[in-house]
């Protein structure tokens, strides 16, 4: 049976974080109620029965032409709390284009859409937990959280590991971005080291010559001592 010890509290953001204005009317006021981990929580979806398309992990090849912007590679490993790679983990990403605009009907930022950039991708990790995307570097964009508020460039990540309790949605940031210290979302995480782990690192080993810079972003999902606990039904 997989064990899911509680995460150190300082390593995760609280629900209510006043600098993030939207949290004020959406964070629960009542404390969470602790419940035991039963089969309902220890099992989880094997999301991704649908076949993954050839260009699903290459956001630069999903349209007729190449998108505008700086092509980048984003690669890393999905690990459990024991540092072991999580195989067959579904990794989904979505992001703004190079100009900082999302392909979403309610994104009103006055920046151009790119007809050659959809901005979403997905991939399953390999047997060692590795994943890799080709995309373009997203732009920063303004939001109305506070006066002159700008989100640092980021890529949204959604992951499923083994068991529902490993479910994670997060954001990957880029190194040396001056907007990061000003951002209420990443700074909702109390622990500085935990914030730092959301910032990808430039990696020459991921970088491809004459092609694209590479960034490394490893993700740790909840769960340890993962062993099979239930026989499949045939």
């Amino acid at each position: 049976m997989i064990e899911f010890p509680p995460a150190p509290p300082e390593s995760q953001p609280p629900y209510r974080h006043d600098p993030y204005v939207s949290s004020r009317r959406r964070a629960p006021r009542q404390p969470l109620i602790s419940i035991p981990q039963t089969l309902s929580e220890l099992t989880g979806p094997m999301y991704g029965h649908n076949p993954i398309g050839e260009t699903d992990n290459d956001l630069t090849r999903q349209c007729a032409d190449a998108p505008q912007g700086e092509r980048i590679l984003v690669a890393g490993r999905v690990l459990d709390e024991d540092g072991r790679g999580v195989p067959n983990a579904m990794v989904e990403i979505w992001q703004a284009n190079a100009a900082g605009r999302y392909r979403h009907s309610r994104d009103a930022h006055h920046a151009p859409l790119d007809p050659n950039f959809l901005g979403a991708g997905r991939v399953l990790t390999d047997g060692a937990g590795n994943y890799r995307f080709t995309t373009i570097k997203p732009g920063a964009y303004p939001w109305r959280n506070h006066d002159n508020a700008w989100r640092p460039a980021h890529i949204h990540f959604s992951l499923f590991g083994a068991g529902l309790l490993s479910r994670l949605v997060t954001q990957m940031y880029f190194p040396n971005d001056p907007l990061i210290p000003l951002d209420p979302l990443i700074n909702g995480i109390p622990d500085a080291a935990a914030r730092g782990r959301l910032i990808s690192s430039f990696d020459l080993a991921v970088t491809e010559p004459e092609w694209a810079l590479g960034y490394r972003f490893d993700v740790v999902l909840r769960g340890r001592d993962c062993t099979p606990f239930e026989e499949p039904r045939r």
Binding site: S11, Q12, P13, Y15, H17, Y20, S23, R25, R26, P28, R29, Q30, L32, I33, S34, I35, P36, Q37, T38, L39, S40, E41, T43, G44, P45, M46, Y47, H49, E81, D82, G83, N88, E92, W94, R103, H104, R106, D107, G119, A120, H156, S158, L164, R167, L168, V169, T170, L185, G188, I189, A194, R195, R197, L198, V219, V220, L221, R224, P232, R233
Partner: protein, 185 residues
């Protein structure tokens, strides 16, 4: 050495072109799946009492009618997982079956329930709750419901919609009066 799990961040308002493009994920059980067919409608309300339009994603995870959670190597067509975004009224509806009872702690059996995860703009990490079925006698000795203060139990009960026995509704109140019970697991 223990590795610390990566911190959560909000799904933000603009996730739908990345996460909820596949409306088939609202059809958890097709006609070939055995079981008591239901339509489970969620409505999400924020602290202003307003529906949360289009910027909430709900994922559900449930056992089949026999109380069995899908395994990745199962050959059946029931996967037990659904995912939808809320519409402009803060609602979304899953077509599924009523789950069977699954084992709980200490050899006790749990009442039929569906786990729901709530992702939204404004939530730096997702919320975890359960949907039980009002009127099910098994609710009375469910090992998880029994941990919830009696006056808040009702927030975890889906209600049958009048005039349609297959339709159930469940409000997720994020904050304030009638706030839904959310779990730490």
């Amino acid at each position: 050495m223990r590795h610390i799990p990566t911190a959560s961040q909000t799904v933000g308002p603009f996730f739908n072109f990345g996460l909820t493009t596949n409306a088939q994920l609202g059809k958890v059980a097709g006609p070939e799946v055995a079981g008591d067919r239901i339509r489970l409608s969620f409505r999400v309300i924020d602290g202003d009492g307003a529906p949360a339009p289009g910027d909430v994603m709900i994922e559900i995870w449930q056992a089949d009618g026999g109380g069995h959670y899908a395994h990745p190597l199962d050959e059946g067509s029931f996967h037990g997982f659904g995912r939808l975004e809320t519409d402009l009224d803060g609602c979304c509806t899953f077509e599924t079956i009523r789950p069977g009872r699954v084992p709980g702690p200490d050899g006790r059996w749990q009442a039929p329930h569906i786990t729901a995860l709530v992702f939204a703009r404004g939530l730096l990490k997702h919320l975890h709750t359960r949907v039980y079925f009002a009127g099910d006698p098994a609710n009375d000795d469910d090992p998880v419901l029994s941990l919830v203060p009696a006056e808040r139990n009702g927030t975890l009960l889906a209600r049958q919609v009048e005039a349609d026995a297959a339709a159930w509704s469940f409000d997720i109140v994020l904050q304030g009066d009638g706030e839904t019970v959310f779990f730490a697991v």
